[in-house]
Each structure stands twice: as C-alpha cells, then as structure tokens.
C-alpha cells in the first residue's frame, strides 16, 4: 500500500505569511505512452520524456490533435476514460502513475495543479470564487476562519486581482476572461504545488491580456520556484516565455531543448517550419502551409513527419527515428538535422491587385449600433470607404465591435444610426428584405467552420445553394461542374462533394465555407476571424486561398481579426477598433512601422515575437 499522506509537514495555520517555500523537486516524465483502444491502434502519445525543473517553464508546442493536452493530463495521472497509460511520471521520486486513485486525488490541487484552457468553464458558475478557492485550502491544508481568509487574500494579491476582499465574494461571471484565468491560477497555486500544468491557459484571451498573464506567470515562477509545463499551440508565445521548448508531432516529442538554442537553430524540420509559419508583424509575407494532414496517432516504423517534410529522403522511412543529441542540450528525432541549416520554404507575399482610382464600392458613414439596454453602443460612429479590389483589415480585442460592423454590412443586424452605401444602393435593410443581387454581392465567411456549415447537408448541397439562389436556372450538369470547379479552386478534391462537414478537418471545412462564398460571385467578401479556429499550418493556406481568388475576381475584402500579424499579411489598410470606435486607420505598412495611437502601440507591443535565425 502506498503512502497517501502528504509527506510534507502540514502548514501551520497560524503562520501563512511569506508562505512560498521553494519546492525542491520537479516532475520527471519517462516513456509516457497513451493508447485509446487495443494494442492494434496507434498510440496517441508515444514514449514521451520530459523533465520539469523547479523555477523553470517548459513549453510544450504543437498543433491541435498532436497529443499535447493528452500528455499533460496523463503525466499527472488524470484519466479521461478508456485510455491505457504506461510509463512513469516521477514527483520527488514517487511515480504518480503507480499511485492508487485516492493517493492521486491527494496530490491534485495540492502538490500538482492543473489549469485548463477555459477558466469560464473550469470555474463553477453557481459558487463565489472565494468558496471555490477555499475548498482546496480546507481539504489539503485544513485552513479555516481567519487564517483561511488571510491566505485567500494573499493569493488574490499574488495573481494581481484588484480589491481582493471584494473579489472573493463575486461570482465567476462578474470577472473578465483574463481575471477568471487569474482566479483559476490562484486556485491552482493555493497549496503551493511543486508542479503546475497549464493547458492553453491564454488561448481564448486577447493579446494584451495574454501578455499580462504571461508576465504574471513568469514573476510567480521566479518567486516560488514552481516547475511549470505550459502547453500551447502558440510557438511565438512559448518562445518568449518558456525556458525550454518541446515540440510535439503525432504523439511524439520531435525536438526539445533550451528555448534560445532551439530558436537559433531548429534541428527538426517541423520545428523549423512551425517557427516560420507564425505570421510576423515585421513582415507581411507568409510561409506556405504544410501540405497534407498529420497522422491520427503516433507512427512507429517511419519518421512520422516524413510524408509532409520537404527535406525527407528514403532513409526517413522504414524505421523509427531515434532521438539524437545536439550541442546546446537539444534532442531531435531527425536524420536530416544537418541539412536544415539552409533552404526551406521561403515566405511569399499574398496576391494583390492594383486598386483602381474609382468611386468607392462601400461607404460606411458614422454608423452606430446600440443594443437596447446596453450602457454604450457596440459600434460607435464608425466610418470608412472601400474600393473595388481593396482589402481592409479591422483589428481589435474582443468586445471592440469589429464583428458587429460586419453583421451590419451583411444585413444580419440593422444599424441604429448612420448611413451605409454599396455602389448606388443604401444598405439600410436587413438581408431578408434586400434584393437578391445585393445578397449575392456581399458574402460573409464566419469564424468557426464547425458551425457555419449545416451538419445535416452534404458539401454538394451546401455549395449548390448559392448557385440555386443567385445564378438562376442553370442546368444540373452546369451546377455540378461549378461545384467541382469551386472545390478544386480552394484546393480540395472534387470527391469531397459527397462528404458531410463532420468528415472534414477544420481547415478543409473553412475552405468549403470560402468556396460557398465565392460561388455567389460576390463583389465584397466579409471575413469574420476566419483563421482563428485554424492551426497555423492551415492558416497560411486559407489566407492564400482568399487572397488569390479575391485578387483574380477583383473582390473587395473586409477582414476582421484579433490577430494583428494575420491582418498584416492580407490587408492594404487597417482600422484599429476599441470600445466600438475606430481609434486609428492607416495603411498596413504605416500602422506597424509608425503607429500613431498609444492603444495601437500597446496592441503591437503585446504580440509575442521572436527572432528567427
């Protein structure tokens, strides 16, 4: 029977001041393998070795589906269902995976803590945050009364929540997303854990909030010497924050080492390409995405990246690639590590058209949207003009009103004041009441391709709809031809017409949504965060598709995104929105080289950047 008692002396409830003693050990993960289903299925995570050191942040990067979250949860013995977990995860010499469930529960929230992506889902909406913070302190530390109160205030101060005494009595919904994540962090830190696992903790948050949380985390790690595993798909963020980096692909760690060394000379092609793929503020050009899709599980008898790798050669297939050591403490699974130094895919600029000096296609003049009962307008006197073929980017944080502008142009909501004109037509009616040609001319692509394609329709039915609505009586064969052609245009096989949306990946679905918009032959394309739900490897290809087709057809684009670097790649002109107002409007180049407004400068400064070798 294993010892389930916390080996450390229980905290003296009367002495909680100056409470963060440096923990001594970290977490050593050795040969961690996770399988769903029987041994015939490829493992989801295969033979992962990671070492979490006290006072250090280990960044675990990789695209969605590569097994990062599964690794993070499995490492602390968190079971999700039917999976088989093998390997060891040593916490101060004790294998967490060998403990019985009761002993594991005694560790969680106590010596090992976990913070999930969405604090708004992780916090109980029906309980004040104070009660939620008190629970682990009561359970693991036996605190109560004044000592408990003092400790809770101390923790809220630690995570920089203003007015802690009042904040403790509030419910989660009374906090902003960033503050909710701070509360979750305070709960995770309350028992002075030795190990903290953060699973995409800032992914849903604005870039300025993300920067503040990262800074807070760094200072906490420096002060408390806690060992942190930080899981994120955002390599730029990890490059700035983590002491060492581990890159995961198809369930395996393909490269790991100290952050500066990995950034200076990536030894695995996937790392190299991933680093190049992140859109950069300094450079509006994009590295083309990686062709193909990652395998569903670990590939054990080839290099798993070989089918998509520009450097692959015959030797890469036929045997598992062992991890090799390189100078500077880097390990990578690649035969061709030496060949990576030069070459590789180089960045290209997205296709553009010369903007004719003509009358504007779209005029938005002093437009306002004020929902009844809201304290301030969602959109406050926004004005801009757009010419045929021009691309305008609108950036801003969540709640800035950028998506509402698109909704008004597309006729999903009616503005409460102001004036919009498209060509010679006033745009004051809702879409249902607009003439059909106007609905055809203005097309909208949504953020989440999971939601914008009806799950009960085949891709063919989805793509047929604009043809039926906007192109009159076409013969069936002509419609079919156009559907196939449009699929090929967005670089999908024509055979996809028979599939259901659920059978496509996120990037593929977004391409279908784009194909649907272009099948209407629009003059104006409205893009609402179209790449936010996509991985960086597909993001570039989706942007490329939009740019190419819109340039060919001379379609004007309004591109809304919270991601400044993405907007930079595609937009000719950029509007920065805040609290419903346009605070700055400039040429794309001018905005990044010479931002006029302090808010724009803050936004740009908050974007994590890193230098490529």
């Amino acid at each position: 029977m294993l010892d389930i008692v916390d080996p450390r002396p229980a905290a003296d409830p009367t002495d909680t001041a100056g409470s963060f003693d440096p923990p001594t050990a970290g977490l050593a993960i050795r040969g961690l393998t996770v399988r769903y289903g029987g041994p015939e299925r490829a493992p989801t995570v295969w033979s992962v070795d990671l070492t979490l050191e006290p006072g250090k942040i280990l960044g675990l990067a990789g695209e969605s589906g590569c097994g990062k979250s599964t690794t993070a949860k499995a490492a602390i013995g968190f079971r999700q269902g039917s999976e088989t977990v093998t390997g060891r995860s040593l916490l101060a010499g004790t294998d967490v995976l060998a403990l019985d469930p009761l002993a594991r529960r005694a560790l969680w929230g106590n010596r090992v803590s976990y913070v999930s992506q969405s604090a708004s889902l992780a916090l109980n909406p029906a309980m004040t945050v104070g009660r939620q913070l008190a629970q682990p302190l009561r359970r693991h530390r036996g605190l109560s009364g004044a000592a408990l109160k003092r400790r809770m205030l101390e923790l809220f101060t630690l995570v920089d929540i203003p007015d802690p005494a009042v904040a403790l009595k509030k419910y989660p919904f009374q906090f902003s997303g960033g503050q909710q994540q701070r509360v979750a962090l305070a709960i995770a830190l309350c028992c002075e854990p030795e190990v903290l696992i953060l699973d995409e903790p800032t992914t849903g948050l604005d870039v300025t909030t993300q920067a503040r949380i990262s800074a807070l985390l760094r200072s906490i790690v420096d002060r408390t010497r806690i060992a942190v595993l930080y899981v994120s798909h955002n390599l730029a963020l990890l490059a700035n924050l983590a002491d060492s980096l581990a890159v995961m692909y198809a369930g395996q760690i393909v490269e790991q080492g100290p952050t500066p060394v990995v950034l200076a000379r990536p030894r695995h092609p996937y790392t190299k390409i991933l680093l190049g793929l992140s859109p950069r503020l300094e450079d509006p050009r994009l590295v083309p995405g990686i062709p193909g899709l990652p395998p569903a599980g670990a590939v054990l008898d080839d290099c798993s990246f070989a089918p998509r790798c520009p450097y692959a050669e015959a030797a890469c297939c036929g045997a598992a690639v062992p991890a090799r050591r390189f100078p500077g403490g880097v390990e990578a699974r690649c035969h061709r590590a030496e060949a990576l130094a030069g070459g590789g895919p180089s960045p290209v600029a997205l296709s553009r058209v010369a903007i004719p000096d003509a009358d504007p296609l779209l005029i938005v003049d002093q437009v306002e949207l004020h929902y009844r009962g809201a304290p301030r307008p969602s959109v406050d006197k926004v004005s801009f003009k757009l010419k045929t073929g021009e691309r305008i980017g609108i950036v801003g944080e969540s709640g800035s009103g950028k998506s509402s502008v698109l909704k008004m142009i597309s006729g999903l909501v009616a503005p409460t004041a102001g004036y919009m004109r498209f060509g010679d037509t006033r745009l004051d009616a809702l879409a249902v009441d607009r003439p059909r040609w106007l609905c055809r001319d203005i097309q909208l692509v949504f953020q989440n391709p999971d939601a914008s394609l009806n799950p009960r329709h085949t891709i063919r039915q989805i793509l047929m709809r604009p043809l039926v609505l906007f192109h009159g009586k076409l013969p069936a064969s002509e419609r079919e031809r156009r559907v196939r052609e449009s699929l090929e245009r967005v670089r999908l096989p024509a055979a996809f017409a028979d599939r259901m949306p659920q059978e496509l990946s996120g990037g593929q679905r977004q391409r279908v949504a784009i194909a649907r918009a272009f099948l209407a032959s629009p003059k104006l394309l409205l893009c609402d965060e179209v790449t936010s739900a996509l991985d960086v490897s597909v993001q570039a290809a989706v942007l490329e598709t939009i740019a190419e087709i819109s340039a060919d057809a001379g379609v004007a684009v309004v591109f809304v995104s919270h991601d400044l670097a993405v907007v930079r790649t595609i937009a000719d002109r950029i509007l920065v929105m805040r609290n419903g107002q346009v605070v700055e409007a400039q040429d794309a180049d001018g905005l990044f080289t010479n931002p006029q407004e302090p808010y724009t400068r803050d936004l740009i400064a908050a974007v994590p950047t890193f230098d490529l070798a």
Binding site: T70, S410, G411, L412, V432, N448, G506, A533
Partner: protein, 294 residues
C-alpha cells in the same frame, strides 16, 4: 472566443440504428417495442373468438385449451380481447401526438423563428394551457363532449400541446443562433427555406425523441381514462378497459387484469428505452462536435 479545433480524422459514418442497438437499453427497448407492435398489428388476425361476443354461461372460467386465458365476467374470450385490445391504445395516442405536432408544433416553430410579439403571444398562450392540470383538461373535454374517439384524441393532444411547444421552441431558438442559419439569412434565403432546409433537419433528433415519449405518456393517460371509465367505452376491447372490468373479479381471475397490464407496460417501457438510447446518440454527437485544445 477563439477555439482550437482538432483536425479530426475522418469519422466513420455509422448509421444511427446500429448505435442504438449497440447499447443494452437500446436493444431491450427495440425488442419490447417491436414485440408490442407486432402483437397489436397482427393480434386481431389471430384472435380465435369475437372479442365482444357475450356468452354468459361460461363466465369467469379459468384458462383452458379453448379459452387460453379463460373468460371474463361476461363470458368473453380474454385471449381474443387481449389480441384486439392494443389497437385503440396505440392509435389514439399516436393520432393525438401527430395532431399536437401539426398544430402546436408548427405554430411554435413559426413563432420561435419569427420571434417578437407573435412568439410572446404564442408562448404565453401555451404557458396558460400548461398551468391547468392535465387530467382536469381531459375531464372537462370528455364531460362536455362524451368519450368518443375524436374527443379522446383531441383531449390527449391538448394536454401534450404546451410541452411539445416548449421542446420545439427551445430547439428552434438554439438553431437560430447557429452560424449556418445566420449564413442562410445573410444569403437572403426566404424564411420558409431557412426553416425547412437549415433548422428542421437539425431539430428532428430531439423532436422525434419527444414524439416517442409523448406517445408513451398518451398510452398511460388513455389507460388511466379507460380505467376511470372515461376513455374507451365497453364493449370495445381495450387493454385499459380490460383492467377496469377485471377489477371486480380480480381474485377469481387475476390473469384478465395482469396480461393487459403487462402489455401496456412493455409497450411504454419499450418506447421509453428506445427514445433514451436515441437521445443519447444525439447528445453524444453534438457533444463530440465541440472543439477543444489538442
């Protein structure tokens, strides 16, 4: 909020009925429902006697080779009455629920999609209807118009209306916010087209489950009414009525009440279990569709 969506491998298209049959409750439910339906549909063809033929001489006989389940207090063959007795108990609730969906269901569908004052009036009306106890509504109707089949259908339909209206309204409101519905609206699609093409196929799942459960409820309500003497009227053969008639001679001939009771139970339990298994498939599917980090 931005989501990181998994690049999921292509899912196998498994037909719904297979998933339902894969679960134990699904198999039991389908078996019970199937057996009951078979009995109801084929039974009358196999009945050895006229279910309403009165023959006082051999009344309250125990089971024999001639009368497999014996005879009742009027000397009618219990087995024949049993084989005939399922039709009314299935058809009346079925017609009632279809009527509910054609009236209250359609009305709520339009109201929920249109919104505004029309939706307000329709939902308030159904809430008002809901505030009256179900049995009271039925009793008033039956007392006023007599216990004929159309009245029973209307009464059961009326008691189902508020609940069905809520289910439809909730499902439609959820769908109206979906991006693909907004995409259709932005395309300038007519309201009818948005409702039939975009919304209906997506609410069919929860609605069909609600449909099955309402039939179950209708079966129990009708049996209750027949037992109270307000439902199906003698001399018609009906499971609910048989239980009521057998009450006086329960000690002498218990089978006369027990056999139809078991039949009612297996039909409603079977429908319930099937609906449960189906609804789990729908919720399981939508749950799996939500995105999460790697």
């Amino acid at each position: 909020m931005s989501l990181v969506l998994a690049e999921r491998p292509i899912a196998d298209r498994v037909p719904m009925w297979r998933l339902v049959l894969a679960a134990r409750d699904g198999r039991v439910g389908v078996a019970l429902t199937g057996a009951s339906l078979l009995l109801i549909l084929v039974g009358p063809m196999l009945a050895p006697f006229d279910p309403t033929a009165v023959n006082l001489a051999p009344s309250n006989q125990p089971p024999s080779m001639v009368h497999l389940l014996g005879t009742d207090h009027l000397g009618r063959d219990v087995f024949s009455r049993f084989l005939w007795g399922g039709q009314s108990i299935l058809m009346i609730p079925l017609m009632a629920v279809v009527l509910t969906y054609l009236t209250a269901g359609l009305l709520s569908l339009v109201a929920a999609y249109k919104g505004g004052w029309f939706d307000l009036v329709v939902s308030r009306f159904f809430e008002l209807l809901m505030s009256l106890p179900a049995l009271l509504k039925i009793l008033i109707l039956v007392a006023a118009f007599g216990p004929s089949t159309p009245v029973l259908v209307a009464a059961i339909a009326l008691t189902n209306a508020p609940g069905a209206s809520r289910v439809i309204r909730g499902a439609v409101l959820g769908e109206t916010q979906a991006d693909y519905v907004q995409a259709a609206q932005a395309r300038g699609e007519a309201a009818l087209s948005v409702v039939t093409r975009e919304i209906l196929p997506n609410i069919l799942g929860p609605v069909s489950v609600d449909f099955a459960l309402r039939i179950t409820w209708g079966i129990i309500a009708l049996s209750t009414l027949s037992f109270l003497g307000l439902g199906v009227q003698p001399p018609q053969a009906d499971w609910g009525l048989m239980i009521q008639e057998a009450r006086s001679s329960l000690q002498k001939a218990p089978l006369v009440a027990i056999v139809p009771a078991i039949a009612i139970a297996s039909l409603s339990i079977g429908l319930n279990l099937t609906a449960d298994a189906v609804v789990r498939q729908f919720t399981g599917r939508t749950g799996a569709a939500s995105g999460h980090g790697a």
